[in-house]
Amino acid sequence: MIHRYQGVVVELVSRAVVPAIQVFALYIITHGHYSPGGGFQGGALLAASILLLRFTQGRKESYRRFPPGAGFALAALGLLIFLLVGLASVARGGSFLDYAYLPWPWASPETLRYYGILVVEAGIALTVWGTLVVVFDQVGTRTRDV
């Protein structure tokens, strides 16, 4: 499934589209506070961009852009961010995931919550991104001979 697509149009368009998808994904993640969106959706888009690379650029190129092992690292990192945000408020005496206790004493609780949500959404996005690519890589590299 992961091989280079023989065709100039597809190659060029996909090269152009991938960054656009990724920017849009960032928008989705960050704009989740005001409109439907957030980490899951954005993460899925990010993953989609990588999958597009995998479909069109072939192994060599797309593995250079996004190594197969990076999926695990990203997924773990995203989850780690989530957990650490939670534990950060624990460290300051609050409840787990109580963003009002985040270590940034100058801001008001609601502002802290606002940014807390943002950080958490970013963590989710990383996890979703990494995991979807991992699943694809696992299944995709196996189905070549099927």
């Binding site: 439907p36 609601e110 919550r113 995991t131």
Partner: protein
């Protein structure tokens, strides 16, 4: 096995149709679900979290821990599918 499966299906349908009578109507503003917990989110979200999107506010803050669990589920799925497909070199058990 088959009989068991169909029995489950039968019980399931009977239960669902039996329950139908006492479920609140669709869109009923007086339904318990709309009366009890959710008004709190609608009224407080903006002042608590400065987030107008209620779904995001509930998802990532009020019920943020569910979302952590959800992230773990995704993470678990990644690990799980990789674990299932892991295969050692020269260890093709077919």
């Amino acid at each position: 096995m088959k009989a068991l499966a169909l029995a489950i299906l039968g019980i399931f349908l009977v239960v669902l149709l039996y329950a139908e009578g006492d479920l609140p109507d669709r869109g009923d503003p007086e339904a318990p679900a709309s009366m009890h917990v959710s008004p709190y989110y609608i009224e407080r979200s903006l002042s608590d979290t400065r987030t107008p999107n209620l779904v995001t506010a509930v998802l990532a803050d009020y019920r943020g821990y569910d979302t952590l669990g959800e992230t773990v589920v995704i993470f678990a799925a990644g690990l799980a599918s990789a674990l299932v497909l892991l295969r050692g070199r020269g260890n093709r058990d077919t």
